[in-house]
């Protein structure tokens, strides 16, 4: 927790980094791992898919081990882990697919 300090009077007021809200979807083995099929996540603006994963791995450390073996989609399009997230995005964590 940050120490509460008052800004020096001559400096401009600190702007708190804007927060974004992202809906995360889990499927198949990842849904089993997470114990849920979706969650809402608040992240700082500019956060990437990888940042979202790191945030969720605080609760579920096994997710970090799965990260290299899953793919990601934002708003139903595949993206890489360094893709930035925007407010309102739908992020899907996609384990290796096995349809057909």
């Amino acid at each position: 927790m940050m120490a509460k300090t008052k800004p020096p009077p001559s400096a401009p007021p600190l702007v708190a980094p804007a927060a974004i809200s992202v809906r995360v979807l889990f499927f198949a083995s990842v849904a089993d791992l997470m114990g849920e099929r979706r969650r809402n996540l608040r992240l700082t603006a500019g956060a990437t898919v990888a940042d979202a994963l790191r945030d969720m791995a605080i609760d579920v450390p096994e997710l970090a081990a799965r990260a290299p073996h899953v793919s990601f989609a934002v708003n139903e399009s595949f993206v890489s882990a360094d893709a930035p997230l925007s407010n309102g995005d739908e992020l899907a964590v996609i384990p290796p697919v096995s349809g057909g």
């Binding site: 499927f27 083995s29 595949f78 993206v79 890489s80 899907a92 697919v97 096995s98 349809g99 057909g100």
Partner: protein, 143 residues
């Protein structure tokens, strides 16, 4: 063009009728059916889960790629979700084309590509447990 996910049994004759246009001379179909074993281990049943909206979007994109590449006017693609018994079709593809080479190649392309990038997952149920099937080579890349 038919592109669908369905929790009901796939109506294969309907898909074939859909691609049977007067200008087509050949129709190639592929059905994936539930095998009674997974590398020798007896399978009791299968379950399919999908990221439904994205799966349909990806299936449609793959079909459109095939239509462009082989200049087709008639493709049907249906994939099951939910619980399937041995012998039921999990996926059915029908491709009509003026000549057979295009029908075979496009049908093969659609099933091969579907298996690499459509967000659908298969769970194999054995006598003593169940596992999600996760092929090592099937990871879609970004973009």
């Amino acid at each position: 063009m038919i592109v669908e996910l369905t929790s009901d049994p796939i109506d294969v004759p309907r898909l074939i009728d859909h691609v049977n246009k007067p200008s087509n001379g050949g129709i190639c179909t592929f059905l994936g059916v539930v095998r009674d074993n997974a590398e020798g281990r007896p399978v009791v049943k299968l379950g399919y889960e999908a990221y439904e909206s994205m799966a349909v979007a990806q299936m449609r994109a793959i079909v459109e790629e095939a239509i462009q590449r082989w200049d087709l006017d008639a493709v049907a693609l249906s994939h099951r979700t939910g619980e399937l018994q041995i012998g039921e079709a999990s996926v059915a593809i029908a491709v009509g084309a003026p000549h057979r080479a295009e029908a075979f190649e496009a049908c093969r392309y659609i099933i091969d590509t579907l298996k690499t990038r459509v967000p659908i997952w298969k769970k194999e149920f054995f006598q003593d447990g169940a596992v999600w099937v996760e092929p090592v080579s099937s990871q879609p890349s970004a973009g």
